[in-house]
């Protein structure tokens, strides 16, 4: 097995034989011509043919990938009519008396250099467009029509680079994936691959090795890995990945854009839990309506010292901008217990799960906490931010946290730094104490989010990291379900909404019960969103609601 690492530009996994697409590197012979007018006419004829071909391609692409993406061929046609481009070719033919092929080739060189020298990666990628149109005319002039090449059976295409026109001419039903040695993520080939949803890897150096032709390979468009002549273990791993992707895609195709509403019309918000900025694309790909839990501790875990206010601000800002107006609930620092950070130099504890963790660290070290709050409030103007505090057990903790928020807001006002005054504040309900006094807590905050992992651990007195406790751990324990019900009822009495962000949120056997309770939001890892949406769409709770709730009595 040989592995080549490129850059994945379109996700998906493909298995197939590698077909290498080599362009006839017809070296252009430069020669002297006698009759310049006749040569110019020959060029004009070729240009008209090229223009017609581009019109056809434009229409083909319109049907296949939509007008927006097809526009590139219309632009190519305009390039063929550009007076500067034509002027340059005409000058070469008439003044230097050289053949049309060379005139086009030399002009292409000048114009593509102009783009390549631009200080802008998008414009640099346009050099390929100039080469593409020029190659087309040269091919017509030398009667060497660009017909790509024909595929008799489905295959993975390997090429040095693929021009947009070549990409469109290939028979889509037979292409399993694209691999190119060159290319950029902004190239039209990458854009087209994404639109057609075909796995694509660019920058895969070495793929054009002749010994690889017609061998079995696997392309992973997510990671950019290409496995040539893969071993059994890789085959099995990648098959599993492929199946998972396909299931996900089928679900997505069916469910994308559909709002999660039960058959009897009950609405629920489905949000995503994420652990870093890199997860944001998955939020979109899975059609999440917002981020229900953004674990800010990764910023602290990945750092060697306390992250500064500006460092945090730029991460929060970026998350909010990427969410494009969707609600993002950022949970403040939740370290301690199983998440230790050296530079906090916390004293060693006998029982860290019940020690100084999460909000307890924040309240005993207010400077660290206020830095995070300042960064959050500063970022609040860039989207729909909600701030959430973990591990609450008492009313006074919530009041202290709110006082610190007010201090931070007053400082920012003083410094004339803009922030969103009505940024929502919420708490995690993950201790039995907070669940039991949730009627009182509900009057202090804008929302609740129930963290079922810790709530289970603390309620059942079970360490979930100790496998020996598994026989005693009933995840659907009546105590847990009653606590959740109490929290939801208390929240609604106080007029606030409540969500669940622990693992139970994605437990499909509980979805009906949560709907019957009136839970307003479920937040799960991105890959669980679509299966959960499917479940919600199939539920009809009004009839069975009383029965379900009766079981909690």
């Amino acid at each position: 097995m040989t592995t080549i690492q490129g850059q994945g530009v379109c996700g998906g996994v493909a298995f197939g034989k590698l077909k290498l697409l080599r362009k006839s590197s017809g070296k252009i012979q430069r020669h002297h011509i006698e009759d310049a007018e006749k040569e110019w006419e020959r060029f004009q004829n070729a240009r008209e043919t090229a223009s017609r071909q581009l019109n056809d391609l434009y229409e083909k692409a319109c049907n296949e990938v939509g007008e927006e993406n097809a526009m590139i061929f219309d632009i190519h046609r305009m390039m063929l009519e550009d007076l500067d481009y034509l002027g340059s070719i005409r000058t070469y033919i008439q003044e230097q008396k050289i053949n049309a092929e060379s005139a086009v080739s030399m002009t292409a060189e000048t114009f593509s250099e102009m783009f390549a020298s631009m200080d802008n990666s998008y414009m640099q990628a346009r050099a390929a467009d100039v080469k593409d149109i020029s190659d087309r005319i040269i091919a017509i002039l030398s009667k060497n029509e660009v017909d790509g090449f024909t595929l008799n059976e489905p295959a993975i295409i390997g090429a040095e680079d693929l021009a947009p026109s070549e990409t469109v001419q290939l028979d889509k039903s037979k292409i399993l994936a694209f691999i190119t040695e060159k290319g950029s993520a902004a190239s039209h080939t990458s854009i087209l691959a994404r639109t057609m949803n075909i796995p694509a890897v660019i920058g895969a150096e070495g793929i054009m090795d002749d010994t690889f032709a017609d061998t079995d390979i696997i392309v992973d468009g997510f990671t950019g890995h290409i496995y040539i002549d893969p071993d059994m273990q890789t085959v099995l791993e990648m098959q599993a990945k492929k199946q998972q992707t396909e299931r996900q895609n089928e679900l997505l195709a069916k469910l994308k854009g559909i709002k999660p509403v039960t058959k009897d019309g009950q609405k629920i918000l489905l949000y995503a839990n994420i652990g870093s900025l890199e997860d944001m694309p998955a939020v979109y790909a899975n059609d999440a309506m917002g981020v229900g839990l953004f674990r800010s501790e990764f910023i602290f875990l990945e750092s060697k010292t306390y992250p500064t206010e500006d460092e945090q601000f730029s991460i929060y800002k970026s998350a909010l901008q990427k969410a494009m107006g969707k609600r993002v609930i950022i949970r403040t620092l939740d370290i301690g217990a199983d998440k230790q950070v050296d530079y906090f130099s916390m004293p060693k504890e006998e029982n860290p799960a019940m020690g100084v963790r999460a909000i307890r660290i924040c309240l005993t070290r207010p400077a660290i906490f206020k830095t995070q709050l300042r960064a959050l409030y500063r970022a609040s103007i860039f989207g729909h931010l909600a701030i959430m505090f973990p591990m609450i057990t008492s009313l006074s903790e919530v009041q202290q946290v709110k006082e610190l928020c007010e201090e931070v807001k007053a400082e920012l006002r003083e410094e004339q730094i803009p922030f969103r005054e009505n940024t929502e504040l919420g708490i995690m309900i993950e201790t039995p104490a907070s669940a039991i006094i949730s009627d009182k807590l509900a009057k202090e905050v804008d929302f609740f989010s129930i963290g079922t992992n810790d709530l289970t651990q603390y309620t059942l007195a079970i360490d979930r990291q100790n496998p020996d406790t598994t026989p005693f751990c009933d995840l659907h324990h009546l105590a847990i379900l009653r606590l959740i019900h109490t929290v939801v009822e208390n929240a609604h009495k106080a007029g606030i909404w409540t969500g669940i962000c622990g693992e139970l949120a994605g437990d499909l056997s509980l979805t009906e019960l949560f709907l019957a309770m009136g839970v307003d939001e479920l937040s799960v890892s991105p890959r669980l969103i679509l299966p959960l949406k499917q479940k919600v769409l199939s539920c009809d709770v009004s009839e069975i609601k009383d029965n379900l709730l009766q079981k909690l009595k």
Partner: protein, 85 residues
């Protein structure tokens, strides 16, 4: 002669697609239409000339129109920039 200034809002600047649309739009008029951006100028009817300006988001573009239908061109091009760029 007529002219107006416009600050580019599109995150990608005048990239290939709007450049193509602009060339088409400018081509509808008899008048000469010139774009001036940070000391460089280009002919709005020529795609390479427009793209060579490498106009980015936030750049201020001065559009200069000169010819028999300059009034109509001024109105339409203003609308075009607002709608597409």
């Amino acid at each position: 002669m007529k002219e107006f200034e416009y600050t580019i809002q599109d995150a990608l600047g005048i990239h290939a697609r709007p450049a193509g649309l602009l060339v088409k739009e400018a081509g509808k008029f008899q008048s000469d239409i010139t774009l001036n951006v940070s000391g460089k100028s280009g002919d709005a009817k020529r795609i390479f000339s427009v793209m060579a300006l490498a106009v980015q988001q936030g750049d201020s573009v001065k559009v200069i129109i000169e010819g028999s239908d300059e009034d109509a061109a001024l109105t339409e091009l203003k609308q075009f920039f607002q709608a597409n760029l």
